[in-house]
C-alpha cells in the first residue's frame, strides 16, 4: 500500500481504530496497572510524607527531578524534530511526524507531574502563582512550561485537524457514536477549501517555528534553574545549550524506539523503512557528537580548574559513581557513533539498540548531574547519618517512575487508537497547499 494515498491508508488503519485485539487489551490493562501502582505510591507519599522518599535535607532532589528533566527533554526533542521536519517539508518525514508530535505532548503531560512530587506541601502549590517572584528561575519555569504545553497542544491540534476531518468523513469507520461526534467537533467544519488550507498552512508554519523556539527557551530555563545557583557542577555557562543538546539527543533516541515499536505492532515495514532509521540515526549521531563535546568541555574545565568543590565532585563521580559515569558519558556517546558511523552496523536493529543505550545513558547523565552535586555541599556535613548525606531512591520513587513510563505507553496506545499513527493528511501531496 502506497504512502501517498490517504484513503487507502485510512482503510488500512480503520480496523485498529475500530477494535482492539486481545493482546492490545492486555497491553492496555498492563499499562493501567502500572499507572495504578504509581497512584498507590503517590498515595503512600502523600499520607506518610516525603520520609518515604530518599530525599533529605542535604540531597533535596532525586529521581523525581531526573524524571522531570528526562520527560521534558524528550518532549522538547519531539517538538524540535516535528517542527523542523514540518518546516523543511522533507519527504521522508511523513510516516514519523505524528510519533514526534505525540512524543512532544504526552511526555509534556507527564514531566511536570514529577516536579510536583518534589514539593512537600502540594496544598500550597498555588502560592507559586500568587506570590511568584519574576526573579526566581522556578517562576520562569512555571511560566515557560505552561506556555509550552498550550503551544504544543495547539501545534498538535493543527497537525491533526485534517485527519479529524478525514475520520469524520470516512463512512465505513465503525466507531462509537461519541467518537464520531468527537471527530466532528474537532474537525471544526473542515472542508478542504483553498482558503482553509491557506490559513491552516500559515498557522501550522507559525506554530512549528514557535514550538522550536519555545522548546529551546523552555529547556534553557530548566537548565538555568541549576546553573544560576553556585553549586559545584551546576554553575556553568554552557548548561543551557548542553541541556538542549542532551534533550534532543535523548528524544531522538526515544523516537527511534517508538518507530521500531510501531513498525512491529502495526506492521509498517513498507512505510517506516531503514531509510527513516538511518536518517534519524544520523541526527542522533550528530547530536551524540555534540553531547560528547559538551560533556568533555564541561568536565575538563572543572577538573583543570581544580576548584576545591569541583575537585571533590569529580572525585565522587570517578569513585562512587565510576561505572555509571563511564556508561553515561562514554557508552552513551560512543555506541551510537560506532553503530551509525559504520555502514555495516547501520541496520534497524542496531540503530534501535544504540537508541536504547542512549536513553538509559542520558537518564543516568541527568542523575549524575543532580545527585552527586547535592552530595557535595559547600559546608562540610559532620556527624550526619549516611541517609542525610547520600541519596538512594526508595521503592516509592522507583514505582512512580515506572508509573510515568506506564502513563507514556498508555497515552501512546490511546493516541494511536484515536487517530492513525501515520498522518493521513501529510501523505497528501504538499504541492496542493498554496
Amino acid at each position: 500500500m502506497k504512502a501517498d494515498n490517504p484513503t487507502a491508508l485510512l482503510k488500512r488503519f480503520a480496523p485498529d481504530l475500530e477494535k482492539t485485539s486481545k493482546l492490545g487489551v492486555a497491553w492496555i490493562i498492563f499499562c493501567v496497572l502500572l499507572v495504578l501502582l504509581g497512584i498507590f505510591a503517590l498515595i503512600t507519599q502523600i499520607t506518610r510524607g516525603h520520609i518515604v522518599t530518599g530525599m533529605r535535607d542535604n540531597v533535596v532532589w532525586g529521581i523525581y527531578i531526573v524524571n522531570f528533566i528526562f520527560f521534558m527533554g524528550i518532549s522538547y526533542a519531539g517538538a524540535l524534530i516535528s517542527g523542523t521536519l514540518h518546516l523543511f517539508r522533507s519527504d521522508w518525514r511523513k510516516p514519523i511526524i505524528r510519533m514526534a508530535e505525540f512524543l512532544t505532548i504526552f511526555s509534556l503531560l507527564i514531566g511536570p507531574l514529577y516536579i510536583m512530587l518534589c514539593v512537600g506541601r502540594l496544598d500550597k502549590l498555588h502560592y507559586l502563582v500568587i506570590f511568584g517572584r519574576i526573579q526566581s528561575p522556578i517562576t520562569w519555569d512555571v511560566i515557560a512550561i505552561s506556555t509550552d504545553i498550550i503551544g504544543c497542544f495547539l501545534f498538535l491540534y493543527l497537525a491533526l485537524l485534517r485527519d479529524f476531518a478525514r475520520l469524520r468523513d470516512y463512512p465505513d469507520l465503525k466507531v462509537a457514536k461519541w467518537r464520531k461526534k468527537l471527530y466532528r467537533w474537532l474537525a471544526i467544519y473542515w472542508k478542504d477549501t483553498p482558503e482553509q488550507r491557506r490559513r491552516l498552512e500559515r498557522s501550522t508554519d507559525i506554530m512549528a517555528g514557535m514550538v522550536i523556539a519555545i522548546a529551546i527557551i523552555v529547556y534553557s530555563v530548566l537548565a538555568w534553574i541549576f546553573s544560576v545557583t553556585l553549586q559545584p557542577g551546576w554553575h556553568s555557562t554552557i548548561f543551557g545549550p548542553y541541556f538542549v543538546i542532551a534533550a534532543v539527543y535523548s528524544g531522538t533516541a526515544v523516537l527511534i524506539v517508538i518507530m521500531w515499536i510501531y513498525r512491529k505492532i502495526y506492521k509498517l515495514e513498507d512505510l517506516i523503512t531503514r531509510k527513516h532509521f538511518v536518517n534519524i540515526g544520523v541526527v542522533m549521531l550528530v547530536l551524540g557528537a555534540f553531547f560528547g563535546y559538551f560533556t568533555f568541555s564541561e568536565y575538563l574545565t572543572k577538573w583543570y580548574g581544580s576548584e576545591k568543590n569541583d575537585e571533590q565532585l569529580i572525585s565522587i563521580l570517578f569513585d562512587r559513581y565510576y561505572w555509571l559515569f563511564l556508561f553515561s558519558n562514554y557508552a552513551g556517546v560512543l555506541v551510537p557513533l560506532i553503530v551509525v558511523g559504520l555502514p555495516k552496523l547501520r541496520t534497524i536493529r542496531w540503530i534501535t539498540l544504540a537508541a536504547v543505550v542512549v536513553i538509559v545513558a542520558l537518564w543516568i547523565n541527568r542523575y549524575l548531574i543532580v545527585v552527586p552535586t547535592l552530595e557535595t555541599p559547600y559546608l562540610p556535613v559532620q556527624d550526619a547519618r549516611d541517609a542525610w548525606v547520600h541519596y538512594r531512591g526508595t521503592w516509592v520513587e522507583w514505582v512512580l517512575t515506572i508509573g510515568g513510563i506506564g502513563s507514556l505507553c498508555l497515552f501512546f496506545t490511546i493516541g494511536s487508537k484515536m487517530v492513525p499513527i501515520i498522518p493521513l493528511s501529510v501523505v497528501e501531496d504538499d504541492k496542493k497547499i498554496d
Partner: protein
C-alpha cells in the same frame, strides 16, 4: 615441575584476591602526634594533639581516636582527661588556670598525650615540659598616648615574683580569619611598654581586641593574653536606604520584566493569531455548509 607451577599459580591467585588474609601480612600503621601548647592567661592552657600518619599519598589525619592527656609529676602520673579526635584528627584539651599541675624541682610541668593504639594503629605518645608564667596586660592612655603595658614573671616555690628575662612579644589584633600582628616587640626584665598608634577598624564604637603573644618561648612555650579597648577607628557601614530593583528585592529588575513581557507577548501573540486562524477556518467551513 608441574606441581611447582600449580602451587605458584595458586599462590599468585590467592595473593591477588582482594581482602585475602591468607597470605597478606597485616601491618600496623604507625601514627604520629603533633603536640601543640598555648598558655592563654584569660582561661587556661590549651593542649592540642593532632594525630596522623604519612604514606606515599601524603598525610592522613585520623578522626574518632581517643587521645589521653596526662600530667607527669615527679612521683605521680595523673590522667587529666580523654578527648576524641575530630574529622581533622585534632583533640584539644584545656587545663583551667585554677588547676594545679604537679611540677618538678625546677618548676617544670609535663603534659603527655597518649594514643593507646587499636587493631589498625600502633601505640604512640608524645610530651612537652614548660614552666608556668604570668603575663599581665594593662591598657592605659598616658598623656593621650594609648599604651599597652606588659608584665611577665614566674613565681618560685615561695610565691616570689621572678621577672622573665627576655622574650619576643607580638602585639596582635584579631581580624576575621586570623590575628593581625601590628608590631613585633621585645620584652626585657619582665616589662614592656608599647605605644599603640596603629589606625585599625573596630566596630561601630571603635572597639577592637588586643593580644600580647609570646611565641615559642623555650621555657614557657606559647603564651597569650587578650583584652579589648575602644582604640580602633569606628566603622559605620554605609548601607543604601533603598536597593532599587535587584534580584533580592520584592520588585524584579526592569530589564527582566521587559524581557519577559516581550517574550510572552511574542509567543502569545502568535498563539492568538493561530487560534484566530482556526476560528476563521471553522467559520469558512460553516459558511460553505450553509450555502450548500
Amino acid at each position: 615441575m608441574k606441581k611447582l607451577l600449580k602451587y605458584f599459580a595458586l599462590f599468585l591467585l590467592l595473593s591477588n584476591i582482594p581482602g585475602n588474609n591468607l597470605l597478606a601480612q597485616e601491618e600496623m600503621i604507625e601514627p604520629a602526634i603533633l603536640l601543640e601548647y598555648k598558655n592563654v592567661m584569660n582561661y587556661g592552657k590549651e593542649v592540642t594533639a593532632k594525630i596522623y600518619f604519612r604514606d606515599d599519598e601524603g598525610f592522613h589525619f585520623l578522626p574518632d581516636l581517643a587521645i589521653q592527656f596526662y600530667s607527669i609529676g615527679e612521683e605521680e602520673e595523673r590522667l587529666l582527661g580523654e578527648v576524641l579526635t575530630d574529622a581533622d584528627g585534632i583533640a584539644q584539651f584545656v587545663i583551667s588556670n585554677d588547676y594545679k599541675l604537679p611540677k618538678d624541682p625546677d618548676g617544670f610541668f609535663t603534659i603527655r598525650a597518649v594514643f593507646e593504639g587499636n587493631n589498625l594503629y600502633a601505640y604512640y605518645e608524645d610530651e612537652f615540659s614548660f614552666k608556668d608564667i604570668v603575663l599581665e596586660m594593662d591598657l592605659n592612655e598616658i598623656d593621650s598616648v594609648r599604651t599597652i603595658s606588659l608584665l611577665a614573671y614566674e613565681r618560685d616555690s615561695l610565691d616570689n615574683k621572678i621577672a622573665v628575662e627576655e622574650a619576643d612579644v607580638y602585639i596582635q589584633v584579631p581580624r576575621m580569619f586570623t590575628n593581625l600582628t601590628v608590631s613585633e616587640e621585645y620584652l626585657e626584665a619582665g616589662e614592656l611598654e608599647y605605644e599603640f598608634t596603629v589606625k585599625i577598624s573596630g566596630d561601630s564604637s571603635g572597639k577592637i581586641g588586643l593580644i600580647a603573644f609570646i611565641p615559642e618561648h623555650e621555657l614557657y612555650g606559647n603564651v597569650e593574653i587578650r583584652s579589648h579597648a575602644n582604640w580602633g577607628v569606628p566603622f559605620h557601614a554605609h548601607l543604601r536606604e533603598t536597593f532599587g530593583r535587584q534580584l533580592w528585592t520584592p520588585v524584579a529588575p526592569l530589564w527582566m520584566i521587559i524581557t519577559l513581557i516581550i517574550l510572552l507577548a511574542g509567543v502569545w501573540g502568535h498563539y492568538i493569531y493561530s487560534i484566530i486562524q482556526l476560528s476563521l477556518i471553522g467559520k469558512a467551513g460553516k459558511k460553505m455548509l450553509n450555502n450548500k
